[in-house]
């Protein structure tokens, strides 16, 4: 973790925020309001060092319905290892919330991975499993 804190300006939450958090709940199927910010998911995540906001911060922003959560890298870096899923003490699945955030962007035809940019060298080496998984997660 870079030690950077996300400063959230004082905001007034309105119907748009509720709409956004409900959308995240709908796509993920998770009751995100159960999250009490204990930090277990962030502590368990093997990729937390690469993320710009922690999983807990991502969950919190989703709870509050702050759409700017979509501007961060965190849910794109997620490797769907499900470590957070098995450890959340409140029984929520942060991996599903990360997927919901990815889907919100992907369904607007905004891909994270540009498949035409795969180098020739990588094309020779990468097994199909890597390509299929990456395309399913990071392209819409």
């Amino acid at each position: 973790m870079s030690g950077q804190f996300v400063r959230i300006k004082k905001v007034t939450l309105g119907p748009k925020n509720r709409e956004f958090s409900e959308k995240v709940e709908e796509i993920s199927g998770e009751t995100i309001n159960l999250c009490d910010q204990c930090g277990t998911c962030s502590g368990s995540c093997p990729l937390i060092g690469e993320m710009d906001i922690t999983s807990s911060q991502m969950m919190h922003m989703a709870q509050l319905g702050l759409e700017e959560v979509l501007d961060y890298k965190t849910f794109w870096i997620c490797a769907s290892c499900y470590t957070c899923s098995v450890r959340c003490p409140r029984g929520i699945d942060p991996a599903k919330v990360a997927e919901a955030l990815r889907q919100i962007k992907l369904r607007k035809a905004i891909d994270y991975l540009d498949i035409s940019k795969i180098s020739e060298e990588d094309a020779k080496k990468l097994p199909q499993i890597a390509l299929v998984a990456a395309f399913r997660k990071l392209t819409g």
Binding site: I115, I118, E120, L126, Q128, V132, T139
Partner: protein, 228 residues
């Protein structure tokens, strides 16, 4: 064919056309001047791909305009062209390795196995099966299953993963034909004979004849085959 007129919808406008017409003959009957979306009228060139829906049926269907007989209240639109990526390559520089799909058509790996392509194919090909064969790296299977593809493009237009089935199958067939298919010994032998000049004299002789003499030679040719 009763000669009765039945209603159909072209670009949502209603026309009456003879029962038993194909989509293309119906369009001609109506008076459309067809500059695109028509070709051989034999079901072979793939130019006349059309999308249609039947009365009270939600299912979207695809068919060739020259082969599909119109039904009463059929709604029709032509899809003369489907924009698609077309890889440019020198076949001599390629190998029969699945990595060529990653290089030229990486979207192949987005396939959802949903079968939408198979459902719309006017040739009733097992499109999803050959796409899957490409993912598995089985060039022979792709070649065999896509053999009758006429490149109409409907599969690619409908595909949720935005794959271009017809172009990647073409690449697979070319690779298969060049690198994997059994070589014909007769062909190799004949090519050697041609290159050695065995038929030079015969051709020169023919080329020197007048059209009349050529015609005579043609009508007097020996037809020598036996049905065994």
């Amino acid at each position: 064919m009763s000669g009765e007129l039945i209603p159909i919808y072209i670009y949502s406008r209603r026309y009456f056309v003879p029962e038993g017409s194909t989509i293309i003959s119906a369009l001609e009957y109506i008076g459309f001047k067809l500059k695109k979306g028509v070709g051989c009228k034999e079901g072979f060139c793939g130019a006349c791909a059309s999308l249609y829906r039947l009365k009270d049926d939600y299912k979207l269907k695809g068919g060739l305009g020259c082969q599909t007989v119109v039904q009463p209240e059929m709604q029709i639109v032509q899809i003369p062209f489907v924009p698609a990526p077309k890889a440019i390559y020198n076949i001599e520089e390629l190998e029969a390795d699945p990595e060529i799909f990653v290089r030229f058509y990486p979207e192949l790996y987005r396939c959802l196995s949903c079968n939408t392509c198979t459902k719309i194919c006017p040739q009733e090909l097992q499109v999803m099966d050959f796409v899957q064969a490409a993912i598995k790296g089985d060039f022979e299977q792709v070649a065999n299953l896509s053999f009758d593809c006429i490149m109409c493009g409907l599969c690619s237009a409908r595909c949720p993963a935005e794959i271009t089935q017809f172009n990647l199958a073409l690449l697979a067939r070319r690779i298969y034909g060049k690198y994997l298919a059994k070589k014909s010994a007769h062909l190799e032998q004949r090519l050697k004979e041609v290159e050695s000049g065995k038929f030079e004299e015969g051709y020169r002789e023919l080329a020197s004849l007048s059209p009349e003499e050529l015609k005579n030679k043609y009508f007097q040719r020996e037809i020598n085959f036996q049905i065994t």
